[in-house]
C-alpha cells in the first residue's frame, strides 16, 4: 500500500513537473510575445549584472569611494573615461555602475517594506471590513494625502540623511498605495464565490484572507511593484537632488545629477549620464511591468 502510494507520489511528481514546465513555457511565450517586455527584461538584467559585477567591470572602482583626482577633473567622455569624469576627477562610468547597486537596493528595500506593510493592512481592512476597515483606510488616506517626497523629506530631516533613512522614509509613505490597491482588490475578490467556498469548508479568516485572497491580489501588486521600482528610484533621486540622500562619496544617481546639474552647459556629461541611467532603469522596469500586466491577465483567462 505504502509503496504503491509512494510510486504514485513519484508519478504525480512527474506529472506535476511536466505541468509546471508547460505552464512556465506558456507564461514565457506570452511574455515573449510582448517585445517591449523582453527589452525591459534585458535592460533590467544589464542593470543587475552591472550592480553585481561593478567591482570587476568598473575601470576605476576606487572612484566609487573616497578618491579625488583634481588632475583629471571634468574631462569629457573618452576611451579612458567612457562617460567622462566629474569635477573631482572621478570616473563617471564607474560611479554609474556602482550607482546601479544602490538604486536597485533602494528600490528593493523600499518596496519590500512598503509592500509587506501595505498588503497586510489592505488585506485585513478589505477582508474584515467594518471598524478595522474604517480605521485602516482613513489612516491610509492620511498618508496618501501627503506627497511621498514631502513626507520622506520630513522624515529624513528628522532622522538625518543616510541611505537607510531615505529608504525607510520613502517606505513610510509608500505603503499607503499598496494598502489602498489591495483593499480595493480585496473588496471585489471577497465577493467571489471561491471565498465563500473557503468559508463553507470551515476555514478561519486568516486562512481565507492569506491563502485564498492574497494570491489573487499578487498580480496587480507585482505589476505595481515593477512600475514602482522606477518611481522609487526617481523619488530617491529627487531627495538626493536636495541633498537628502546617501552621504558622499556614495555614488547614487540622484546625487550625481544633483552635483552635475550646475554644469549642464559646461560639463554636460556629469549630469546627463546618471540621468540616462535613471531613465534606463525606470524604463526597463516599466517595460517589464507592462509586459507582466499582459501576461498575468492572460494567465487568469
Amino acid at each position: 500500500m505504502s509503496t504503491k502510494a509512494l510510486s504514485r507520489l513519484v508519478d504525480s511528481d512527474d506529472a506535476a513537473r511536466q505541468e509546471r514546465l508547460r505552464q512556465l513555457r506558456r507564461g514565457a511565450r506570452s511574455f515573449a510575445q510582448n517585445r517591449l517586455s523582453l527589452v525591459g527584461l534585458a535592460m533590467v538584467l544589464v542593470l543587475v549584472f552591472a550592480a553585481l559585477l561593478a567591482p570587476y567591470i568598473a575601470p576605476y572602482p576606487a572612484d566609487a569611494g573616497a578618491g579625488v583626482h583634481f588632475d583629471r577633473a571634468s574631462q569629457p567622455p573618452s576611451v579612458d573615461h567612457p562617460m567622462g569624469t566629474d569635477t573631482t576627477g572621478r570616473d563617471i562610468f564607474s560611479r554609474v555602475l556602482f550607482g546601479a547597486r544602490l538604486s536597485l537596493m533602494m528600490g528593493a528595500v523600499v518596496l519590500s517594506i512598503a509592500i509587506s506593510v501595505g498588503v497586510t493592512l489592505g488585506l485585513v481592512a478589505g477582508y474584515l471590513g467594518g471598524t478595522a476597515n474604517a480605521v485602516i483606510m482613513r489612516t491610509t488616506d492620511i498618508f496618501l494625502a501627503v506627497p511621498p517626497t514631502l513626507l520622506a523629506m520630513a522624515v529624513v530631516a528628522a532622522t538625518g540623511a543616510s541611505l537607510l533613512n531615505v529608504m525607510i522614509a520613502i517606505a513610510f509613505s509608500w505603503w499607503s498605495w499598496y494598502a489602498r490597491l489591495v483593499q480595493g482588490e480585496v473588496l471585489s475578490i471577497k465577493e467571489a464565490e471561491f471565498v465563500e467556498s473557503s468559508r463553507a469548508l470551515g476555514s478561519n479568516w486568516t486562512r481565507t484572507a492569506f491563502r485564498e485572497i492574497l494570491p489573487n491580489v499578487l498580480s496587480p501588486i507585482t505589476v505595481k511593484a515593477t512600475l514602482d521600482m522606477g518611481f522609487v528610484i526617481l523619488v530617491g533621486a529627487g531627495l538626493s537632488f536636495l541633498g537628502l540622500g546617501a552621504q558622499p562619496p556614495t555614488p547614487t544617481w540622484g546625487a550625481m545629477i544633483a552635483q552635475g546639474r550646475n554644469y549642464v552647459t559646461t560639463f554636460w556629461w556629469i549630469a546627463v549620464f546618471p540621468g540616462l541611467a535613471i531613465s534606463f532603469a525606470v524604463l526597463g522596469f516599466n517595460f517589464i511591468g507592462d509586459g507582466l500586466r499582459d501576461v498575468l491577465d492572460v494567465e487568469v483567462n
Binding site: 488616506d141 494625502a145 501627503v146 522606477g230 540622484g254 552647459t265 531613465s279 516599466n286
Partner: protein
Amino acid sequence: MSYVDYLVRRALQAVPVVFGLSILIFLISRVVPGDPVRLALGPQATQEQVTRLRREMGLNQPLPEQYLDWLVGVLQGDWGMSLRTNNNVFSDIVGRLPATLELTLVTLFFAVLLAIPFGVVAGTNKDRWQDHLSRIVALFGVSMPRFWVAIVLQMIFVVTLGLLPLSGRLSDGVAPPPAVTHLYLVDSLLAGQFGTFVDAAKHLVLPAFALGLATLAQVMRLIRSDMIDETKKDYVLAAQAYGLPSNLIEYKYMLRNAFTSSLTVIGLALGFLLGNAFLVEIVFAWPGMARYGVQAILYQDFNAIVGVTIVIGIVFVTTNFAVDLLYGYLDPRVRLED
C-alpha cells in the same frame, strides 16, 4: 443611498483625514532635531532670549498641548510664525499658493487635455504603430527625473533656441495684472491685458511641461488601457452594429467611461503635482508654495512645514471630493444606484 447623502458622507470622511494629517505632520515636525528657537534667533542669541522665545512659542509645553494650541490657532487663521520668514505662516502660504496653483492647474489641465486624444488613438489602435509610439513616448516621460527634464528644457528652449523665458512668472517690466484670483492667466484676461496673458503663458510652458510630462504619460496610459477595455464592452459593439460614426463611438461612448475610471488617478495627480512642484519650482525660480515648503523643511521651520502640508492635504482631499462630484455627474450609476 442618495447622491447627496453619498457626497455628504464623503465630505465627512475627509474631516478625520485632514485632522489625522495635521497630527501626523505636527508630530514629524516636532521630532525633527534642531532647536527652532536657536535657529530663529541666530548664533549670537543669549540664553535668556532662547528661553523667552521658547516660552512665547509654547515649546515648553507637552506635545498634546502644543498641538491643541496650534489647532485652535489654525482654526482661527493663526498658523503660527514662520521661523525663517518671521511671518505668519498663513499669510506666507496665501501669498505663494496662487503661483503654485496656477502652475499645477495649468499642468494638470494640459496633461489631461493632451492625454485624452493620445490615449484614445493609442487605445483604439492597440498594437499598431500609433500605440507603440505613444507607449514608448509615455514611458520615456515617466522615466525621466523631473528636475533633469527641467534643466534640459532650459538648455534647449532658452539658452540654445531663445524661444521661451527662463524663469519666474512674468518678464522684467511686465507688471502683474490686477489681483482678482491671483492666477495671472485669469487675472490678465479679466483685466483685458492680452500682452500680460501671453507673457504669463510663455513663462508657464516649460515648468508646466517639465512638471506634467510624467502625469501626461500616466493619464495617457490609463486612458489607453481603459479604452482597450472599452472596445470589449457590449455596448460599444452594439453601437458599432447600429452603424454609429466611429469617432462618435470613440469619444462619446467609450471615452466617457474610460475617462471616468481615470478620474480617480487624475484627482490623485493634482496632489502629486503639488508635492513634486518644488523640483520644478526651484529650477524655474517659480515663486510658489512648494519651494517654500522645501525650504521650510530644510530650515526645520516647523510651523511652515505643518502649514504647507496641511494645505497640500486639503487640496488633495478637496480634489478627491471634487472628483467624486464629477464622478457622480459623469456616471449616473453613482447618482442612481444604491
